[in-house]
Symmetry: C3
Subunit: 494 residues, 3 copies
């Protein structure tokens, strides 16, 4: 038994240190040790999660000894104090404290409650900078700062007033916004005084945060920075392993408006992932196609550094997730080329509306990438496909996607034509575009059904293009829009 | 190579016996051995499943050698005959035979077909007693013994009669009930004579059970006891491992009326579970936060004995799953404080209806836990959150949940106001509350959409509060109720 | 502990490498080596996938040394050239080249782009022949060659024309068909000249395939054969492991029309699979109940060679997936006995329609298996159940299924009666059975809701029989059909 035990110890050590061999315990800063001394019992789950993390076992100096392709930090140097200790509580929560409205004196140390992308940037500047230019970083403003989208938000999650003429759209409450749209888009986190906490280790005063908790990817933080790295790299493990799992993206990219996750699951890629991923290596950097994984997850196509078994780079890592894409499948109300800037609230179409296309389908080209850039991105993206598919396969695949995009945009145009007739006849009012019975069907057409078909076409989930949110519904809904309009017109004639 | 292989064999053997080392085969009772001798070939899957189980490797005497916190049985002594043999076929199927209508003489032994919670109680009395007081144990009567709910059952799963005035609600058949509502709630299992079976080991007569098979959690058994432990601890492995997986709860807690599973999957907790649970230990007792698991499953928050890495108890084990909860999110038609008794069919609201609130939203407080008890439970529940979250985080989280509950209840009130107008105008009849076109929309409002939002708010699944069964539908549906009522009134005027 | 366990699993897998020990590298044919030399860099994912496969490590001669029950190939001899090399690129892509319209001279070798079931038949003739008689092999013609179904296809995924009288059904485009119906049913793949490809290894001309890419299970290949083995055995791993995972079947058997996957996931079997399958052996041949797996996946009941722990055969392997079934749950519009032939487009009902039942529910018995064959199959299927369930359990289970089938068929009859009234009154036209507002509700009744209930009943997914696509919707929809018809009749009267 003791022989077995010693073998086990050798194995455990060999495998859990992941190549990082400390003679003794990993070096923890004095400040972090002070945190751990209390929080080990006050918040044991956080500490245990961190102990499982790479952060708890690695110093920046060690991390920099790796060849560049294998490196997980993009800074080439970090503040001296941080170099030879592992990345512990204080190393993250003690950064840039003067910028943080949520900073407070805690047991003798200056601590921030919320760690922001600007803090993570200390070791991960390339990733933070890429992210900062993305649509995700601007997710709050892009939604709430766009008067048209804001009208849709209120029509969707606002509590209406019920009067003698039926329900009238009201404003969405802060609480509901946080549990709905801003659950993914992110909230604007502020600080409103302090809260007094009683615990085993005494009474403490902590900043009381408003619009908190929130892990929306575009969260505006108390230091003014935008984003929440923890939206994907869950605290306090911050693992690349988790971020590469499609379940992570599925936190937001699911549901009738954007069924990317559902489509992926149905797809051949999803089938291979679901069936075989227990044998994959989600932790390897760089990520080797066919060796570490045998079918792409969301990350492989949209974010990760992917290489061949011979370490030839197939795709560079990016944290601006839309930057590999040429077309934006998500119709508003039509699909369109990807926006040039992650800040989409600046877009105005030819009719002056803050939409990437007009209601007639004309793209706001000034704000969108041009044909050359589209081709460049499409070619680069195709390189990922070509790792496992032939050129003929790949080219035809995207040609079919183009056809699906074209047809769904035509279908949205038909729905919009019926809608315009309803507006013209005064059956519904375009003052609020989204609140009447026919208007809600129109929203379904472009927000739910056309999107479902496009995602299904892009990733091959035939049911999401057919009976599950797809063409069936698009056709049925168009008929229902017509039917409802026609009924109204007949009733009036009498 | 051969050295490595022999080490491996040693290791595999050492670890698969889970620390229980029998010099030889585990001690099996004579009676159980007789069962195995035939059933090994007659029902090989059952025997193989049992051989994988802890029951097949452990005697009660051994189980009692563990420290109390690690113990999986709550009895401190068991009948002498059972003490030093493993828990085999006969040890369970041979208990309390005189109480069992499904007991029969089989190959010289008295055997019950159905093992009931009262039988499991022999070794697990604390769990059986907790369960016996729960809503789950009364799930059949709570549904079928409540005339209002029964009306909803018939309107939902009953086969209607199609007459000259359209469909009229009929009674649901026994067969359909078992495949629908009672699939989860449980059936009342009876015995109706015997069935003669021909098999390789000869002809046998066995009791013919009625309303069987069924594994609904509130099943009424042939010994008069209530419940099916196998609803969660699947036979014949009866593993705690499986009961702790959210897939187990998802057997029933899913779908538009109670999308707990769907919401969990979308949540951050669900994301961590899905991405990382291959590395968790679902078998450990007690269950260590941050060590055995890094995000809660259903069991962690609602049932399991959860401890810190230092074995400090964070939550005691309970098999009365509602007992940790203060509010009942599931609206009938409004959310309300948890019922005092698991037997909810006794509840009467101020209007005399068997509902926990009136249609106007007044709670039947006499039957519901009071504010003090609510606070006590909320504080206890918060201790689980605090293992990984700060106090400010946790308090704000539940404050936002309160806001969601309040708003959805107001929305249900608006839908009910439209409904009442329809009843008042004679557009539909309140004789059956659930069968007219507008009534069915009203049911959707409180049973599907408001519930979806509340679960989504409680566990953070933003899409289930927004487009996937949530606010979008609640608003659209309210408009549609109004629209349909209004149409009828306009048609009448002409 | 769990870390240790996963290490152990890794090691065990590493050392037991499937029993095939090559002193050196496995023997690869010259031709295959030539493929690998370029494609290792040109399509690294494909090569890496193949390297992980059994094909890359096994020669047919070795495969034939196994006892028959353990054999994965059904040919008893193969062409001499193939016997002592592993199954590499050329061994599959170089077969039967004269039959292949997609064959081309490539770097000195004659290569087919698409490997077809007729090619796989070289080593797997029993499987290929079984498959060739199945409904799956005829999936394209069964759908597209049936004028009634084709009308449904156009009404569902066709782009309509919007005229002054509202939307009129148009023809579905080729591109959309491939992304919808034919994504699962399969496309007819042709060859249209060549495409010139520029790559690192020079310029090559390759056949340009039409209706490609496609992995639909009934695909018609450029060699005239039907089917795509890769629909389930994903290229280039072709693993039995993946084919046995329910995720594979779920690529197509999901969604509102055929929610087999959703129902399975909710079921007790699905619960056990989801919770425990990390411990199963999906690779073993034969597949041992209770040892290799503890609950059936789709494959166990519908396809795999299943044996007891003592190697007694419980079910023989089949690649004609419907051949174990007696009833066809999938209503068209009513459930009916399984068709005699996999080519269902030949069926004509008593009214001359190409449907397995009349609209009044009379089965086209001449084309369907008779009562004797039904009983035979039901008995054989029951043997699978009996591995883990008692006879009383099993018999009652299928009796309840019969009841569900009977009730849902009655419900479909009611919906059809309302539909016929609408046709008779001229409210809608039966010229196209599927395009009017009431007709679309009628399709929902039999295609979505009745099917959902039957699958839910067959595999025990209570929510799919109740609120999630089940009885709730069937009743609500019948009421809505009536309501819409009645509204029209009232409007006319005025």
């Amino acid at each position: 038994m003791s022989v077995v035990r010693s073998i086990l110890i050798v194995l455990v050590v060999a495998f859990t240190t992941l190549g990082v061999a400390w003679a003794d315990e990993p070096p923890v800063s004095e400040e972090t040790q002070a945190c751990l001394d209390c929080h080990e019992s006050v918040s044991p789950g956080i500490v245990a999660d961190w102990r499982n993390s790479r952060h708890s076992r690695t110093t920046p100096t060690q991390a920099l000894t790796k060849p560049e392709l294998e490196r997980r930090m993009s800074a080439t140097e970090v503040p001296e104090k941080m170099r030879t200790v592992v990345v512990g509580c204080y190393e993250c929560h003690g950064l840039n404290t003067t910028r943080h409205k949520d900073s407070f004196k805690h047991k003798g140390q200056q601590i921030n409650v919320v760690v922001s992308p600007n803090d993570c940037k200390t070791c991960h500047p390339v990733e933070a900078n890429e992210f900062a230019t993305s649509k995700k970083a601007h997710a709050v403003e892009n939604l709430m700062g766009n008067p048209t989208y804001h009208q849709l938000v209120d029509s969707t999650v606002g509590m209406p007033h019920l009067g003698a003429q039926g329900p009238k759209v009201g404003s969405a409450s802060e609480a509901t916004l946080r549990k709905t749209c801003l659950g993914c888009h992110g909230s604007v986190v502020g600080v409103d005084g302090t809260r007094t906490i009683e615990s085993d280790v005494g009474t403490v005063k902590v900043p009381h945060l408003t619009n908190w908790p929130n892990q929306g990817v575009g969260r505006v933080n108390p230091d003014g920075s935008r984003g929440a790295c923890t939206a994907c790299h869950s605290r306090h493990a911050f693992s690349i392993e988790m971020a590469r799992q499609p379940y992570t993206c599925a936190q937001c990219h699911m549901g009738p408006d954007i069924p990317a996750w559902e489509v992926y699951k149905e797809s051949k890629h999803g089938n291979i992932f679901s069936s075989m991923h227990a044998k994959w290596n989600f932790d390897a950097v760089p990520w080797k196609v066919g060796v570490d994984f045998t079918a792409p997850t969301c990350a492989a196509c949209h974010a990760s550094l992917v290489v061949s078994p011979d370490n030839e780079v197939i795709a560079k890592r990016t944290h601006d997730y839309g930057s590999r894409l040429w077309v934006r499948l998500f119709g508003l109300p039509y699909s369109h080329p990807q926006p040039k800037s992650g800040r989409t609230s600046i877009i105005r179409n030819a009719d002056g509306q803050p939409l990437p296309t007009t209601l007639a389908g004309v793209p706001a080209s000034k704000f969108l990438i041009d044909a050359k850039e589209q081709k460049k991105r499409r070619d680069a993206f195709s390189a990922l496909c070509l790792a496992c598919h032939s050129t003929d396969w790949t080219v035809s695949y995207f040609d079919h996607l183009d056809a699906s995009i074209g047809e769904t945009d035509k279908m949205v145009k038909m729905a919009t034509d019926v809608m315009r007739l309803a507006w013209k006849k005064g059956v519904e009012s375009p003052k609020n575009l989204f609140d009447g019975p026919i208007e809600r069907m129109w929203v379904r057409a472009w927000l739910f059904y056309a999107n479902s078909i496009r995602y299904a076409s892009a990733m091959s989930g035939p049911d999401y293009a057919t009976f599950e949110g797809g063409w069936w519904h698009l056709n049925e809904n168009l008929q229902a829009m017509w039917d409802r309009l026609n009924l109204e017109l007949r009733l009036r004639k009498r």
